[in-house]
């Protein structure tokens, strides 16, 4: 059949193939770009690094020799590996338990109604929205040996004798890094728990009160079972995040003292990028990937709730066909429960404890940030006072002048800050826009055709990429980009960031489209829209809040990213702000601490602004894109 362009369209009743049970081509088109790109930027590098793990490479001669499983057997014979595995296990258990317990407590408090709840919800998010690099800088200075803030506080309190080099002891250092990880991750768990709590019918607790259950009993009998499926996801997420902790270790301890904080991810990094033993490094990182996958599967089977059979499948037993003895009513003795404390006293006590809890959460979340801001406003000489003190001798904008106007400083690193902020901003903007645009299309396809096998399987594949540590990808990227000339280019960084953001954006947009009623699409099609116009003219305007949330969330992730940027950039042409902050530490000149803290504060400003002004979007991102399964 041929149609000339200007001929009137005639409906020709041609025998068309029935499309029962298949998704329209449009659905495949929406997900195609994301899937193709993910294969290119995640699939190929992963295969490459898998291949790498079977080879022995020589960085100088650039010769590759296929060695089979020799790298793996070497890793398994290496005592360092087992030690690192043990440390990783200890660190992860501590971090996951701490994150979960603290997250649940936060959520329980934030779910109550009290004055200033909205503010506290924003404040609680700050530690999680901050760049891990800034977190590392902040907490290293709190624990620092001679001049650290904790020691300063002890001196101020007259307890100078307790001051010590907090990272001096290996085991203590590992615990302190774990606490920092908890500080960073607890808000995410809190968010997930809070959203689960809010979906809980209020009458459930009322019913339990009437049934005579006290607050503790209600928590364990009603609340905790309700949270179970959310706990599954939050535990998987916090476990993966703990296993892959890298940024804060890089900043705080660099695996030391000795090897006390050398976890698997740090070991893989050191093997790959310091000893340049790519094969062995790749093998270690692959083992880490397998570990996180295995744990996710394990959790899933242990924690996932059993699905009840639908009502119709169970035939009801015929009742009353056989004559039977009717059970008799038991007269329950009147229940004389006398409370130990008078109800009014109890109410007042609850109020006091609750107030203390609110205050504690505020201090825990905000005080360290306030301290970071305060240090950035103190003269650099304050930071190396003897004896140390937490009170600044004076307040000054000197540090900011150094990093923003490059005035009165000889520091090369400080002069790089404005460019780095610019780089971070440009890269963040480009990478968020590209990925959210692609993710919007893919999200539609995944949301509407989730029950088709092709879409379900590719969706799971996307989710699995979240369990691949960035470290596993950065090694093949480094080697491939070096040969392609992509090191130290915007394009290289953008490709690397897309490996994280593309699945994220697709997940978030899928959740947005899932909330749209299917009747909307049908209405648009009946009103004469093609699928394309329906998508652009009807659906996209409706999911706009979801798109904004995805852009903000992707920007934040990109802004905070450290590992890819550190490995794949080399000059200030492309270096982002976390890399520059980390660079201050390499220079190790005391008087540069001032500019470093000023740069750290500048780096956390966008996250803080987002936590306060776009809290809703941030929460949406955390709950849908990053987590939902």
């Amino acid at each position: 059949m041929t149609l000339t362009a200007d001929a009137p369209k005639i409906d020709i009743v041609a025998p068309r193939r029935r499309r029962v049970g298949t998704a329209p081509a449009f659905a495949y088109l929406t997900v195609a770009p994301v899937l193709v790109l993910m294969v290119l930027i995640v699939g190929i590098p992963l295969l490459y690094s898998l291949y790498l793990s079977f080879n022995s490479t020589n960085p100088i001669t650039k010769k590759w020799i296929f060695v089979g499983f020799a790298n793996y057997s070497r890793v398994f014979q290496n005592a360092d590996f087992w030690a690192a595995l043990g440390r990783t296990a200890y660190f992860s258990v501590l971090a996951v338990v701490g994150t979960t317990v603290l997250g649940i407590i936060f959520a329980l408090v934030l779910n109550q109604r009290f004055f200033g709840r909205g503010l506290l919800r924003s404040v609680v998010l700050i530690p999680w929205a901050m760049a891990p690099v800034s977190i590392g800088v902040l907490w290293s200075f709190i624990y620092a040996g001679n001049f650290g803030l904790l020691n300063g506080l002890l001196h101020d309190l007259g307890l100078g004798s307790l001051a010590t080099a907090w990272f001096g002891d290996g085991f203590r250092a590992l615990n302190l890094v774990a606490i920092t990880q908890i500080w960073n991750q607890a808000p995410l768990t809190a968010l997930m728990m809070l959203s689960a709590l809010q979906s809980m019918p209020g009458n459930l607790h009322r019913a339990a009160i009437l049934d005579g259950a006290g607050p503790v009993r209600r928590f364990f009998s009603i609340t905790l079972p309700w949270l179970k499926s959310s706990l599954l996801f939050s535990t998987i997420v916090s476990t993966i995040n703990a296993l892959m902790t890298f940024d804060i270790i890089w900043i705080m301890t660099r695996g030391g003292p000795g090897a006390a904080t050398t976890t698997l991810s740090w070991l893989g990094y050191v093997q790959s990028f310091q000893f340049l033993r790519f094969g062995e490094g790749a093998a270690t990182l692959y083992l880490l990937t397998m570990l996180s996958l295995a744990l996710a599967v394990l959790y899933f089977f242990v924690l996932s709730p059993k699905k009840p059979k639908p009502a119709s499948e169970i035939p009801g037993k015929p009742v009353a066909t056989i004559p039977r003895v009717r059970p008799a009513m038991v007269v329950i003795p009147p229940w004389n429960m006398r409370p130990l404390i008078h109800p009014t006293t109890q109410r007042n006590l609850t109020r006091v404890f609750f107030g203390i809890g609110v205050l504690a959460i505020f201090v825990w979340s905000f005080l360290p940030v306030a301290i970071l801001i305060m240090i950035s406003l103190s003269p650099p000489t304050d930071l190396i006072r003897t004896p140390p003190s937490v009170f600044p001798s004076s307040l000054t904008l000197e540090n900011y002048r150094m990093v923003l106007m490059a005035e009165g400083t000889t520091s090369v690193q400080a002069q790089r800050v404005p460019v780095a902020l610019f780089n971070s901003f440009v890269i963040g903007a480009i990478v968020s826009l590209i990925n959210v645009a692609l993710g919007t299309f893919a999200g539609y396809g995944f949301a509407r055709y989730a029950n088709r096998r092709f879409f379900a399987v590719s969706l799971w594949a996307l989710l699995l990429t979240r369990m691949v540590p960035a470290l596993t990808l950065v090694l093949p990227f480094f080697i491939l980009f070096r040969s392609m000339g992509l090191i130290d280019t915007y394009l290289g960084v953008i490709i690397a960031y897309s490996t994280i953001l593309m699945p994220l954006a697709a997940w978030m947009m899928k959740a947005s489209f899932e909330n749209l009623p299917a009747s909307l699409e049908r209405a648009a099609q009946i009103d004469g829209c093609s699928r394309w116009t329906m998508f652009i003219k009807v659906l996209v305007p409706i999911v706009r809040p979801g798109i904004i949330a995805a852009v903000i969330f992707c920007f934040l992730v990109s802004w905070n990213e450290f590992l890819f940027a550190m490995i794949l950039t080399t000059t200030m042409k492309t270096q982002t702000i976390p890399v520059i902050i980390a660079g201050f530490l390499n220079q190790a000149r005391f008087y540069e601490y001032g500019p470093m803290f000023a740069a750290s504060v500048l780096a956390i400003l966008p996250p803080i602004a987002i936590a306060f002004f776009f809290q809703r979007y941030l929460v949406q991102g955390a709950l849908s894109g990053a987590v939902k399964g």
Binding site: G214, P308, P327
Partner: protein, 339 residues
Amino acid sequence: MSSINIAGLNKRYGQTHVLKGLDLSIKNGEFISFLGPSGCGKSTLLFCIAGLEEISDGSIRFDGREISDLGPRERNIALVFQDYALYPHMTVRDNIAFPLRQQKIDAATIAKQVAWAADVLGIQALLDRLPAALSGGQRQRVAVGRAIVRNPSVLLMDEPLSNLDASLRVHMRTEIRRLQKELGITVIFVTHDQEEAMVLSDRIAVMNNGVLQQFAAPMDVYSRPANRFVAGFIGSPQMNFLPGDLCGGAADHVVGVRPHDLKPGNGIANPFTLSGELVLVEPAGPFQFLDIAIGGHIVRATCTDIAGLSPGETITVGASPEALRYFNADTGARVSHSR
């Protein structure tokens, strides 16, 4: 099983006065409905009795004992929620046993009592299912089972039938009434459905805007409404209200007549007649509703035979004088007939 005395009960949320000086006295073993439009405060009153809401002032006594200071756990009441509030992760058996377990009752007694409740409600076959595997009506029964299992002194029900479909609702309300008779328990039943309240209750407390309008037996409320609000709220279709002067009465009166009392024809016994244009005929099975335009008002009447009636015609309808109710046009209070 208790009697309940509520006196001078007020409930305020900040500036909002939700319950305004309520006085109610409920006898032991009575079935009472709180009836009113949504937002009238009936559920709030129920929650105040349950102890889930604190009262601002006034008193609530069970069997003469002041309980308004007590927590809900100490009042020995049970509540069936509108959404049933079954614990989703517990089987039916555990749901029903839960209140008994909180009272530290021995396992054998719990098993006996659960068996009794299941038998009374006919849910023996469901005991090992989770709530998600139950239909709406089954969930309803389980919720009632959880409520009666510990012999509460008062059983409170917050619109328990509103989530069921129409036929099941009719069936369940019969069951609830049977159960209440069987157990002899005091029940307070909150509803916005006047038919439900009429069928179930020994007495109905009609509420509006936090004020008790009338507290009387169903037929009293129906035939001797205390005021215009009660007259309009009870009975379906709604009572017709006409300005007094339109019907040859005093101008400061409103005349109310129920559609079922208003029939075509100006028969001998009907000195009260109205004439107007027939606008619409609505068949409702055994009878038809007639919408008649009279002096700018639409008046609804009923007839059993519409032969010879078609819209657009002028029609005369009439009612016996006993069927007429008179209300003060300003206060809405019912007044005796005066010419």
